[in-house]
Amino acid sequence: MKIYIPLDSIAVALGADDVAAEFAAVAPAMQIVRTGSRGMSWLEPLVEVERNGVRYGFGPIAVRDVVSLMAKNFMESDEHDLALGSMDSITWLKRQQRLIFARCGITDPLSLVDYKAHNGLAGLRKALAVAPDNIVDEVTTSGLRGRGGAGFPAGIKWKTVADQTAPQKYIVCNADEGDSGTFADRMILEGDPFLLIEGMIIAGLATGATQGFVYLRSEYPIAANIFSEALKIAYANNLLGDTILGSDKSFTIELFIGAGAYICGEESSLLNSLEGKRGEVRAKPPIPAIAGLFDQPTLVHNTISLCSVPVILAKGAPYYRDFGMGKSMGTMPFQIAGNVKHGGLVECAFGVTLRTLVEDFGGGTRSCRPLRAVQVGGPLGAYLPASMLDLPMDYETLAARGAGVGHGGVVVFDDTVNLAEQARYAFEFCAHESCGKCTPCRIGAVRGAETMEKIIAGEDVADNIDLVRDLCYTMEDGSLCAMGGMTPIPVRSALEHFAKDFGV
């Protein structure tokens, strides 16, 4: 008798550990496998059983449901009211194209046997069999772009690092996932950590880097535990170390935990932090690909960028490139969050519309009130009105509307939201998180919050709005990095689409 219960943070936050403990108490003979999450948060804790090789789900399961599940013989029958049927039949999952999250929620994240049995390491084996240039070519041809927010073509970055001659090169994974409404990095670290390890090794083989670091935020304690366990297993099984899968190639990975600074998601600030310094932004050039960690050539990539690599190698660049639209190729794990009924992770090809994500997958607002705004791409992303939901998720289309894909987070707000307050919050957040190095960001954010305060109080509204607009230009043009440079995006979009809230 074997059941599957997620160990993912969301499942745990909704009681999965208590449910697992109850099963262990009620049915001591039962084998409980802890998995990642399928990404359907409203069904968590989701308990699965396997019958004749097919997984069946039950959820959401509370501790009090355990006895009735046993009474209704849930191992063999779908009689229980919380039965969801076979997992393959769930439309929410069927409509996705899961390339990165293919295993997440299915396998034991700390079983290398499971990982291999579900196509794991196929990309790495391919990479070990070809020349480094071929790996870089494959990534370039795939059209993969950085998934952290900037959307920079990965192939160009890889080639730049590969072309450098240096005593030491590094691969640094940016898992400092601070954007509200995003949790894809966390889910993959908790649900399929070997995927990131595989992606980083491939990046190392391609660029000549032999050391890797994962910079993980401290707000993710469960992810930190799972990933450090995964690293131990990887070293013990020659996946990491001096003889990767029996070859003469070597690669190491260390996990580094941040200390609660959002700005450390900015790559140069992250590198300073990783060097043990204040997480202040560095002026560019030089770019990290030329002089990054300890001034050595460094490939800094978001978790999801690196996790996209194994499937590109395993199935080939053309396979990957055929997903998506325009210059946005492949798939993206979109994250639906906030005031939404069916929040969770939806991995789809680019081109999916906001409406599909928010209405078809998300099921509309959780409060059942009208949807008024969505914020796309984190705290530095635009607030868009309901009338713009037909926009496709595509880097270029959104950029043309003053918005961005960011890290793929979509936060839903109902009609009780006040966008002037959200604009004030955007400045406050920037003030709280600014590293302080450049004046437009450090001072601008404070002045912006003060001025928004006046607007909300109805003081000289028109003049103060002009002042905010002017400040936005200064921050956009004068800031060293995206923190100050993109804070104007939520502010301006709120002003543009929701002027009423500002009293005009």
Partner: protein, 152 residues
């Protein structure tokens, strides 16, 4: 406690990548704050100035001058949680605990902290009680979870 007393915590991280940060995390975990003597000790062992170490400590929210409580309640303040009423819930948390954000109770039992995103945004609102995540809670459940944490 004098500077030497922190040696055993800090010394293992000397020479490691980002060692100062990891050492300070170890101090914070052991002492619930960063005592001035720990800064002096780290400066000596890492061959940095006291000002440099203080600069590092003051930069990061996780490192605090004042001791955190035995029970740390961290309530998310970010957008996805705002969309489902975290502003009201945060006010409730302050009232229920008799603390403002950033404060620790006089007996050292509790501290209430702001946090910006816990990655639980699909089941917002979210908080951590010590390192245990909780999400999709209302005021009543907040009180119940707090009671449960106290009972432990």
């Amino acid at each position: 406690m004098n500077s030497e007393a922190f040696q055993s915590i800090i010394l293992p991280w000397v020479g490691k990548v980002g060692g100062v940060m990891t050492a300070m995390r170890a101090v914070q975990t052991a002492h619930k704050h960063i005592p001035p003597d720990a800064i002096t000790c780290a400066a000596k062992l890492f061959n940095l100035s006291i000002a440099e170490v203080r600069g590092i400590v003051s930069f990061y929210d996780d490192f605090t001058n004042a001791a955190q409580g035995d029970i740390r309640v961290r309530v998310c303040q970010a957008e996805a949680c705002q969309a489902v009423g975290s502003r009201e819930l945060s006010r409730h948390a302050e009232q229920a605990m008799g603390l403002s954000f950033g404060e620790t109770s006089a007996d050292g039992q509790f501290s209430l902290e702001k946090v910006f995103c816990l990655g639980l945004c699909a089941a917002a609102p979210a908080m951590l009680i010590n390192d245990v995540p909780h999400s999709r809670f209302d005021a009543d459940r907040f009180d119940a979870l707090l009671d449960k944490a106290i009972a432990k």
